[in-house]
Subunit: 267 residues, 2 copies
């Protein structure tokens, strides 16, 4: 087989399986090549992925070693993504009143989702999480894409306990966005105790539901090691959770003059 072809096959296979560890032996046997040739190929694959800004290949030596594609996104591409979302959100027709903005089309757009998830993958890869957790509904595609890129299972917390979830644990929490007590529920069999989770959601106002998720995971001894949201409101300044990664901050929504002020956060 020609080297041209082999490089393409490896790029396709590794990028289709983000964060999956491949033993070098796997590719050596598949393509009947020496380890030295494969190492050269992997260097080229790494160069290709960094040239395109798709991510990088991490290599691990010794027992259990191998290579892994780690997705990423450059600062420049992140800035372009933020600019694109801000431009879309600036449409005054999105203003619904009460500080609410219509965002579903953005949260359900495959290309924006992919790029937002690449930012979270880059930021949270080294946190060694076991799960990506979200709460229904609008953040599910973003959390699912982040989970795919980090090769982690997704866990979806429900508003109401469903029979099809088996035994569940529920908590009540205060939601500032809706100014009322809300409920959330998690399937007992969806997480193992003593593990680590990243929370991904579409939007944060006061951080009430994110704090609720942290608490419900705490019931299972699951530690939250990262929180990411696509959008975050500037107010209230004192959030119920800290150290969150937010792509865009919504500074203010002026319903009178139909304008939305936003800031792209430095990522």
């Amino acid at each position: 087989m020609k080297k041209n072809m082999r490089i393409g096959l490896i790029v396709d296979e590794m990028t289709s399986n983000p964060c999956r560890l491949y033993e070098l032996k796997y590719f050596c046997e598949k393509y009947d090549i020496a380890k030295s040739s494969l190492s050269e190929d992997i260097r080229l694959v790494n160069q290709i992925l960094s040239e395109n800004g798709t991510g990088r290949i991490e290599s691990y030596t010794g027992v259990g070693g191998g290579v892994r594609f780690v997705p990423g996104i450059s600062r420049e591409e992140t800035a372009r993504l933020q600019e694109c979302i801000i431009e879309k959100l600036s449409d005054p027709q999105r203003i619904l009143g009460g500080g609410f903005i219509y965002t579903s089309d953005i949260m359900f757009d495959g290309r924006l989702l992919r790029d937002m998830a690449r930012v979270f993958a880059r930021e949270f890869y080294s946190r060694n999480a076991d799960y990506v957790v979200t709460i229904e509904t609008k953040g599910i595609p973003l959390a699912a894409k982040t989970a795919e890129l980090l090769n982690l299972p997704l866990v979806v917390i429900r508003r109401e306990a469903k029979y099809s979830e088996g035994s569940t644990v529920s908590i009540n929490y205060f939601s500032g966005s809706y100014d009322r007590i809300q409920k959330m529920s998690i399937a007992k069999r969806s997480v193992r105790p003593g593990t680590r989770a990243i929370i991904i959601d579409d939007f944060m106002r006061g951080g009430g539901s994110l704090k609720g998720i942290t608490e419900i995971l705490g019931e299972f001894d699951v530690e939250v090691v990262g929180i990411g949201t696509a959008l975050a409101a500037r107010e209230p300044v004192n959030k119920k959770v800290s150290d969150t990664v937010n792509l865009i901050t919504i500074d203010s929504v002026d319903e009178e003059i139909k304008s939305i002020h936003m800031t792209a956060n430095d990522l």
Copy 2:
């Protein structure tokens, strides 16, 4: 730039952007090569993607022509996927009573989702849909992945009208699974009239909610041109919708002897 590198860059870019049409000019200018060299490259890229079973490159000539990566999955890989899901579902601990089975971990597993979505992309690519539509909650990741592969926007129908969706249209429908009247609601601005949609969901029993989705889309003059579900119950035999693509049929759940009978459908 070496041909090795160029092939890898094109594979990476095209597979990262499924169903996106690239003008040949785009790659010719980006890599400063003649159209004849690019045509040769594209042939090799197509060979790579078919060798890995990832999909194929479609070429279009004339004005508005170019190349497009169309995701797919071989019959053999589809059979392996079905076998893998059936094996997972066979665990008697999944039986919850009342014919319900715990499936969330399967519906939230990145690799299974990707492969299930590849089947739907292969089956529905030629239907020329404008949207992928689902109803919250458990089918959202599968629908989102299918939408990504077909380069279509996702539309999520809600159980309750949400303020953040703007104006909505709601209908009531009869759910056989829950043996009661249920409600569904769609944001008016989420679909344009006169368009075509594919519906993707995790599970179908009698087809009540799928028929409900068809009706609510009909209110907007949106035609349903395909329905796909991961799992479908054998009973009732007379479904409320027809011509559905179901990966696996659940023939019976025996709660006494804790066993689940399933069939992998021919896909």
